[in-house]
């Protein structure tokens, strides 16, 4: 099966079996190994990427379903020497220990800040019709799809909060 994708701004053609997940396409076919495979069942968030600007679990979607889509991975957010604000904030706040969940955390947080800017509420937002403020509690809830087995959560939240402000 042939699928055309734009990955980090570059047009790519994927030739792969229909059962290839977007995650495996990125890692094995395009050699973009920044995106991690954790649980492979949509429970840990390590595989989070942005598809047409929205964060999703790349393990739970087929690459062939994304013909024409624009994919952004952690490699596309910034490069060494030219880090994104969130990437720099994770470094500054020590927002990790082993680092395995970090690409997913950063992709997820990148989209989360956009969602908040668009006024999306979360389940802990008191008034659903107001514009949410990104408190510690809001960030925790909005990042609940990204697990960190090292439990670097306080520093992850600090890093995100700094960029949110």
């Amino acid at each position: 099966m042939q699928t055309r994708l734009t990955v980090n701004g570059e047009e790519k053609t994927l030739r792969a079996e229909t059962r290839t997940s977007l995650l495996d396409a990125l890692r094995h076919h395009f050699k973009l190994t920044g995106t991690k495979k954790g649980c492979d069942h949509g429970q840990c968030g390590a595989c989070t990427v942005l598809v047409n600007g929205r964060r999703i679990n790349s393990c739970l979607t087929l690459a062939c379903m994304h013909d024409g889509d624009e994919i952004r991975t952690v490699e596309g957010l910034g490069r060494p020497g030219d880090l994104s604000l969130l990437q720099q904030a994770f470094v500054d706040h020590d927002g990790y220990q082993c680092g395995y969940c970090t690409p997913g955390q950063i992709c997820s947080a990148t989209a989360m800040l956009e969602e908040a800017k668009a006024g999306w509420p979360s389940v802990v937002t008191e008034d659903l019709t107001s514009s949410p403020e990104l408190t510690t509690r809001e960030i925790g809830e909005r990042m609940s799809g990204n697990l960190c087995r090292c439990a670097a959560y306080p520093n992850i939240v600090d890093a995100i909060q700094e960029v949110a402000e």
Binding site: M1, E17, T18, R19, S21, D40, H41, G42, G45, T48, R54, R55, I56, N57, L60, T61, L62, C64, M65, S108, A111, M112, E115, A118, G119, W120, P121, S122, V123, L128, T129, G140, E141, R142, S144, G145, N146
Partner: protein, 329 residues
């Protein structure tokens, strides 16, 4: 994951045609692909409906909203009309899964998602839902998350959706289109089945039918609440959830609608419980009577016995809150 053929449908008729030939629909895929990886389901042919134009939220002539089957859970929860007019639905959606999953999960797919019963997921265990006639490992197994209402001796699984519980309390209709182009509308309450002797049949969809939309009637009078009790405060399925719409006027309950999640094979509504409340002055004693009626036939299977008192307390707390009596009834 086993190999399969993959085709895209451009219209509902395309999809229905492929389904008559045995294809399985994929929309968001968040539940289906999970199940396919574990070989709980092994479709030989997938039909991708993501290019079918079913992703609009439209006003209806009756003052409600028609939610296309492919509207994502994120988009539905963020829609200003939903947030303003159906907060119970926005809250239920936002309490389900994670933001990443909600960005893929669709309205139609959410209704059709399968149970998270451990034994359904484990292909080495007997499960009448996965393999009719093989038995139920949950009845005498670990059944902490299982049903206390409406279960059968064939299956004690629960429906995992939050969204459907809120749509149940809002008395939504499911709009369905078949291969012959015929459309029908089924009240959400009648869309889901109880397990009885056929736990593998979970809803009333025929093999060539596609959910095209969920239609919400105009917003009900009164207050709306969604309360979800779970093992951790985010990203977990409900042990018990309650969607409530209650209208209190002159210190009397004018109208009350309740729908329960985590308790049964489908979102659970019991009009007898609502009848206990209507016309009465809201008091803790009254709420206790409502819980008595709801739980009169409740049955635990060991590990899930705790759900019976938990449901009682959650119901009392939700009713106290929605009737303005504070947290403690």
């Amino acid at each position: 994951m086993r190999p399969f053929d993959y085709q895209r449908a451009g219209t509902v008729a395309d999809a229905a045609g492929l389904m008559s030939a045995g294809a399985t629909i994929i929309a968001g895929g968040t539940n289906l692909l999970d199940l396919m990886k574990l070989q709980v389901v092994t479709p030989e042919r997938l039909v991708d409906i993501n290019r079918v134009p079913l992703n609009e939220i439209e006003e209806t002539a009756q003052g409600g909203l028609r939610v296309g089957a492919l509207v994502t859970n994120s988009d539905l929860a963020a829609d200003p009309r939903v947030r303003r007019r159906y907060p119970v639905l926005a809250r239920a959606l936002l309490s389900g899964a994670s933001p990443q999953l909600r960005n893929k999960a669709t309205t139609g797919g959410n209704l059709c998602q399968r149970t998270r019963c451990y034994y359904f997921y484990d292909i080495d265990q007997a499960c009448n839902k996965r393999e009719p006639g093989s038995g139920c490992s949950a009845i005498d197994g670990f059944n902490r998350i299982h049903a206390i209402l409406g279960a059968s001796d064939q299956c004690i699984a629960t429906h995992p959706s939050d969204m459907a519980v809120a749509m149940g309390v809002l008395k939504a209709d499911v709009e369905i289109e078949g291969g012959d182009g015929g459309r029908r509308t089924v009240p959400l309450d009648e869309f889901f089945r109880l397990p009885d002797d056929t736990p593998h049949l979970e809803n009333g969809l025929r093999p060539d039918e596609v959910i095209t939309a969920v239609v919400l009637p105009s917003a009900p009078a009164g207050e709306q609440r969604y309360r979800k009790v779970r093992d951790r405060s985010s990203y977990a399925f409900a042990l018990v959830s309650i969607a409530a719409v209650v209208d209190v006027r002159d210190e009397r309950i004018e109208e009350a609608t309740l729908c329960f999640g985590g308790l049964a094979h489908r979102p659970w509504r019991d009009e007898r419980v609502e009848a206990v409340l209507v016309g009465q002055r809201p008091t803790g004693e009254l709420f206790g009577k409502a819980a008595d009626v709801l739980l009169a036939e409740a049955k635990g299977f060991g590990h899930n016995d705790f759900k019976i008192p938990l449901t009682r307390r959650t119901l009392r707390a939700v009713l106290a809150d929605i009737c303005g009596l504070g947290d403690d009834s």
